[in-house]
């Protein structure tokens, strides 16, 4: 059931097919591009630490950081390392794990179909031994240490710990040096069997490629290993998250030049996906620009007072079970920045922005969305991560067009409240 999705305004063409194994495959045709980008991802991230393993009845809790550990280990094969195969073909492989997904990707400028074989092959072929699991612990321990010294990373994870009481997004994606030493090959296989079924995965490709050949190839490779689709429901267990924030202030001392802050607002509306979630993401992106974008008086004032500088930025994250808005940057005085933002929020409740401001930000979002399609890599990653929230990225412009100022104001009133916020700071030693 091949489907062609065309967007005339963007001049983009997307071809979709669901394979017999249950795998969703998308191809964005990009004539004129030298590179091809392919990403093969599973709906499995660091948040999935409690679940019922395939074929069992009772839930288990796995060590923190195991999804990321599994990502590292899949690259290992009985005959050596996948990197060697990719290198021979000249492709640039990589992978990442976040809270909700694990993704394997490559960039090629030739040998695309061979590279695709490598990708579909190794992700379907786990090979864990006691020795190769042990060997990885030293490498990942150094990866964790590297992040411990990264103040931008620390300020963000500290903030999540402040915003959330129980929800696993408060834990580091890679786990801790202690937790990864508890990981063994049996648990890795258990996680793999549960989450790496094609019906829980998606393949997304962008480039000047032949779609039918891709579908054919994926059909053969993936059915060979997993058989036809047996629709499976994965039972994931998440703790119930209480309302309100865990802490309203978190501070840590590190070797930095001056304080770094992240002010977060917790979104308590927690069960959502599809268009409803897309609308929410759009609304919040608009709010943040209206509230404290570079064209606002408050941005100008904070900048002139030396309280923020060009490192200042903000964004909203909207996932299936959680969401938050963050404003972050370097400052002399995190408390004063936070106070100014709280005051501005209170002011905007009674004196909302002009309609014209809203329209202008919408225009800006149109441009930002069109720009995204310059980059194959970003488009693919964005597309898959939206897909896992049941959002079709190509619907963005239509939803943006239809969103009203009143919806945006409602969202603003619900999320941006002082009592729902946490200020995380990293201060010099």
């Amino acid at each position: 059931m091949k489907k062609v999705i065309e967007n005339k305004l963007l001049n983009e063409k997307l071809i979709y097919n669901r394979l017999s194994s249950g795998l969703d495959v998308y191809i964005l045709l990009k004539p004129g591009y030298s590179r091809q980008f392919a990403i093969y991802a599973t709906r499995y991230g660091s948040n999935d630490s409690q679940f019922v393993p395939l074929g069992q009845r009772e839930p288990i809790t796995v060590p923190d950081g195991i999804a990321h550990f599994l990502e590292h280990k899949l690259f290992e094969e009985e005959k050596g390392n996948v990197f060697e195969e990719y290198s021979r073909l000249g492709a640039q492989p990589n992978a990442f794990t976040n809270f909700n997904m694990t993704a394997y990707h490559f960039t090629s400028t030739g040998n695309f179909y061979e590279c695709l074989d490598v990708l579909l092959g190794f992700v379907g072929r786990p090979y864990f031994t006691d020795e190769n699991v042990e060997k990885e612990k030293g490498i990942i321990a150094q990866e964790i240490r590297m992040y411990e010294d990264n103040p931008y990373w620390r300020v963000y994870f500290n903030l999540l710990r402040g915003l959330y009481h129980e929800f696993p997004v408060r834990k580091d994606i890679a786990g801790t040096v202690e937790s990864i030493y508890k990981i063994d090959k049996e648990t890795l296989y258990e996680c793999y069997r549960t989450f790496y079924h094609p019906s829980n995965m998606a393949l997304f490709i962008a480039g000047d490629v032949d779609p039918d050949r891709v579908f054919d190839q994926a059909e053969k490779m993936v059915v060979k290993r997993s058989g036809k689709n047996e629709a499976r429901d994965i039972k994931r267990i998440f703790p119930k998250e209480a309302k309100g924030v865990n802490k309203d202030r978190i501070e840590e001392r590190l070797a930095v030049a001056r304080p770094i802050f992240a002010l977060g607002f917790k979104d308590e509306d927690t069960v959502r996906d599809g268009d409803r979630l897309l609308d929410k993401i759009i609304a919040n992106d608009i709010i943040l620009d209206m509230l404290i974008g570079t064209s606002t008086d408050i941005y100008d004032k904070l900048y002139e007072e030396g309280l923020i500088d060009s490192s200042f930025g903000n964004y909203y994250t909207g996932e299936r079970y959680y969401g938050y808005a963050i404003m972050t940057g370097q400052t002399q005085d995190p408390e004063r920045v936070a106070d100014s933002i709280f005051n501005e929020i209170v002011k905007r409740r009674s004196q909302p922005w002009e309609q014209e401001h809203f329209n202008r930000i919408k225009k800006k979002k149109i441009g930002e969305f069109i720009r995204l399609f310059n980059s194959l890599d970003s488009t693919c990653i964005q597309f898959v991560s939206m897909l896992f929230r049941d959002i079709q990225l190509l619907d963005y412009l239509e939803r943006l067009e239809s969103i009203t100022y009143n919806e945006v104001k409602k969202e603003f009133n619900e999320i941006y409240r002082k009592e729902n916020s946490c200020l995380s700071s990293i201060v010099p030693l």
Partner: protein
Amino acid sequence: MKDIIIKNLNKNINLYVIPDKKFKTVYISYCFHRDLDEDYTYNALVPAILKRGSEGYENQKEIGIYLEEQYGALFDVGVQKRGERQVLRFTMDLVNEEFVGKDGLLAQAFYFLNRIITKPVLEGSMFKSDYVNQEKENLKNRILAMINDKMQYSMERCIQEMCRGEKYARYVLGNIDDLNSLDPEKLYEVYKDIIRSSPLDIFVVGDVDPEKVAILINNSLDLERSQIKLIPETIIKKIGVKQREVVERMDISQAKLNIGFRTNVAVNQNEYFPLVLYAGILGGGPHSKLFINVREKSSLAYYAFARLEKYKGLMLIGSGIDQMNYKQTLDIIMEQVEDIKRGRISDAEFTASVNAITTSLKAAKDDQGQLVDYYLGNAVTGAQYTLEDFISEIQKVKPEDVVEVSKKIKVDTVYLLSPEEGDAGR
């Protein structure tokens, strides 16, 4: 198809247009070249002040509104180090008119950039003092913030130690003492000199007509130009290099090991191509000797890489390790360096490196920023190689050429950024 069209505009300005229908935006970058001389802090400060406002767009708010109106056009300024020169950049990226059905977006962008560059907000015959004072503080903070990113900090410190006494030791954003004693009159003079006499290259990448772009720039750019200053060539050779070890302590949890080498190869020499492959084989990705031996075989690090500072003839190795393993890691790294000198390069390593480099060069054609970076590099070195030419030069290199060039590469500085506590493994 010709990849790039180069035109000489009036007033000694070079225009580089890469017309390509596949891009949804038009990327524009004005690049002024400056010697990395004692005025380098002033050079770094000027773009930051110009970014604050101009006639017609007096402050950030007005600029912000303008950019939002132009469908979220991006505008930024920056300063980069390319060998012993600074490149001051003014960059815009705007949606191609055809997607939003609004004529004149491109033309307006050139007029906007002209105002930013040539019509700053003045008080008398100097920059507006508030802007100077605020940007002075911001620049100071940015210089100090170098320590926040330990990987970048240790790399920069390794270069500073290695190049002490040379121009190249200067940090691209300037230094704190110069900012503390900043002379606003001189700052304005430096600005005048930048726009009057610096070599200027303008890059435009997107679905555009090169003739039209040339006309738009000629019509919009209101620059008084005089004699263009020649920028001295970067000095590559250093006599009497002796291996040095520098250990710096900081309250951190992971040690950073950096090793600085002199390649003794200039970017415009033929030996540069084998050098690129050399760095690829040694530490240019998961196929490389460093990745395989430091990470995969010994589990000592998450990352270990080698990269060229091509304009200055340097190579840097970087790795994040447990300080206890300093000596062991250093030994393994130096063994890899020696191995190449002894000709121990496998066919697989060689092919993988050629392929990896070819892929990144080809992939650069899909990225406006990378295209500009590449051709700006040509503008700096005077090289004429298109990306395709460069790829074919890489394909011609033989393993023995790599071994030959490896003999010229000498260790200069071993730099370790180490946690406060404990023994650095010696």
